[in-house]
Amino acid sequence: MTAEPTTAESAAEGSAAKGSAAKGSAAKGSTAARSTTVEFGHRAWVVRRSRLALRWQARTVIVCVALAVLTLAATTAALALGDYPLTLPEVWAALTGDPGAGFSSIVVLEWRLPRAVAAAVFGAGLGAAGAVFQSLTRNALASPDIIGISTGSYSGALIVIVLVQGTYLQLTAGALAGGAATAAIIYLLAWRGGVQGFRLIIVGIAVSAMLTSFNTWLMLTAKLEVALAASAWGAGSLGRIGWQEMLVGGGTVLVLLVVLAAFGRPMRQLELGDDAAHATGTRAEPVRLAVIAIAVALTAVVSSAAGPIAFIALAAPQIARRLCRTPGISVVPAALTGAVLLAGAELAALHLLPVALPVGVVTVVLGGGYLLWLIVHEVRRR
């Protein structure tokens, strides 16, 4: 494996056949850069093995690894901390199924593991969904929240809570149905010989506004205790996640994330505009439809299991972009940032605060505070 620092210019020539020629031009490029101090972009690592050529920006890779380590640390801490504190070896013994683990095995595997893993996976799903919308619309305000998918899930759940007083399983089903129905309605209303981005968002905003009003009205008519319970669910909570919810919800999110990763390259072409994307061999419409469907599914699944956790979809891509110092939005760093945000907020909500608050509330305060700090910090650096 040859990993070498090179410039963005040379990496643009991807094919292995031109490998040596590209290296030559890169060398020429860097001599030119030395003499005239022209900046060619960020430091990048390029890997070429016969037909395969991959290029990573050094800073992005380092940030992603750091984020992954942080997520793992937060998840491990979530397994160890609690009213029945465990040491790390005890957690490891429980995880590996050591017969001597005893009671700690139940604590770790049955009580803490589903919730901790769900926090990281759901966070990643929301971050990735936000990245898709912000990348497609090239608009920092766009997120699945704004076009009403999570509002639809909340409507479905509210109907179950307020009108039917249903069980938790019915609540999940209601939320899932609400999210899916909203997505279908928005898509049908926006469809007119194809779905154009701007029209989709305006229709989404309109539908979302109606659903928000409907939700407010349901809350007004409900009894105080019922409305309070509904409001707590609406803030987003992982409190009722068990193995079943984790396996179904988390598994779906993971599959969707893997599929989404395959669209990373065409999505970057789409950011250049449809014409440029066509010219570089990307079919714009099918790609856009596919990634929107994935992002909507991610949001609907997470909202149905944990409530409409706001803000991660909006903040994670922006935080990731500032950490990686990339010009555009990319999915993988955004997903990892989302995972850190939700896992960290879950940890803080459970162990740092004196009162019990839904994780969604804590996420917004932590993630929002950090994003504000980043915004100010970024300006100082300029």
Partner: protein, 343 residues
């Protein structure tokens, strides 16, 4: 050739603008009359006109002057304020998704009202007024300081993100306070719906000077905003003072949206939707958009309130809730029918 085409389209555009504005004016006038006539006690149109001319102080005349006219005035003021604030913020940020709440106005108002309820034990909309206004102003100042930190003054993207982020944080704090205090939750869910019930002259008049100042500022910057729409560099070369324009816009949006929220609570969607509709009718010139918004925004709010008063008579639905159901279908039909223009 291109010049000839431009000449061909200029005349229809002017006609379209004039016809559009006249139609909007007629619609607004009809809705004002409807808003005075419709309610739990229906007043026939002839009686409305009669009562407006001769104030006898009893019967229909009493209902009209003591209840309907103040309420209609409040709706007009709130509608104009929210619509113009929305038009300004979309022009400033060059973002079609921006609404007046984006600078943290609603979140600041909500936080202070929640504090007022939880800490000072407030109970009525009249008492919320100054808490709400102070919160809106204070939070916008904070957003502005964060959004304009660093060299080069206000950066629209930075300002937008700062406003949305701070707004989200404050809303989270409010919802935490509400979840921990059921009594505050009970009052906040009513305030949150956005309503003009029992808001009369005593709520409108103190805020009116702030709204008027906001409208005057908006009129002053509508021209320069046209230049800014071309991008910062081109605007500068055309002689627009970008920094001053942005500061004026932020002040105007704060006064308008803060004042409206102080009167009626958070009413969403009107500031987001009306500028789009206005733009589709009169084209991209901000001065014409301002004119159309001045007529269309209060019309939408009045229509929503009239519907809210009729659907579950003798009870009524808060205008903030009905608004989306009146406005959203119109927006969907329009965005499907026309080739929707961006900014």
């Amino acid at each position: 050739m291109k010049i000839a085409v431009a000449h061909d389209t200029a005349a229809p555009l002017t006609r379209r603008r004039v016809v559009g504005l006249l139609a909007a004016l007629a619609l607004l006038a009809a809705l004002v009359l409807a808003s005075i006539a419709v309610g739990s006690r229906a007043v026939p149109l002839t009686a409305v006109v009669d009562a407006l001319i001769h104030d006898t102080g009893e019967g229909d005349s009493y209902v009209v002057w003591s209840l309907r006219v103040p309420r209609t005035a409040v709706l007009l003021a709130v509608g104009i304020a929210l619509g113009v604030a929305g038009m300004l913020i979309q022009a400033l940020t060059r973002n079609p998704l921006a609404d007046p709440g984006i600078l943290g106005v609603n979140a600041g108002a909500a936080l202070f009202v929640a504090l007022g309820i939880a800490v000072f034990g407030l109970t009525s909309p009249g008492q919320y007024l100054w808490f709400s206004f102070a919160g809106a102003l204070l939070v916008t100042v904070v957003v502005y300081v964060i959004g304009s930190a660093g060299r080069g003054g206000v950066d629209p993207i930075q300002l937008t993100l700062a406003g949305v982020t701070l707004g989200a944080i404050l809303y989270a704090v409010v919802s935490a306070m509400m979840l921990l205090d059921p009594r505050a939750f009970e009052q906040m869910r009513n305030w949150n719906a956005g309503s003009v019930v029992s808001r009369g002259w005593e709520v409108l008049l103190p805020v009116l000077p702030f709204l008027a100042a906001g409208i005057l500022l908006a009129m002053a910057v509508a021209g320069p905003l046209n230049a800014i729409a071309l991008g910062d560099d081109l605007a500068k070369s055309l002689g627009a003072n970008i920094g001053r324009t942005r500061v004026i816009v932020v002040v105007a949006v704060t006064l308008l949206a803060g004042g409206a929220t102080a009167i009626a609570g958070p009413i969403g969607f009107v500031g987001l939707m009306v500028p789009h509709v206005a733009r589709w009718i009169v084209g991209p010139d901000q001065r014409w958009i301002l004119g159309a918004t001045l007529l269309l925004a209060p019309a939408l709010l009045l229509a929503a309130d009239v519907v809210g008063r009729t659907v579950i008579r003798p009870g009524e639905l808060p205008v903030g809730i009905v608004m989306a159901f009146v406005g959203a279908p119109i927006l969907i039909v329009l965005v499907r029918r026309r080739k929707a223009a961006g900014l």
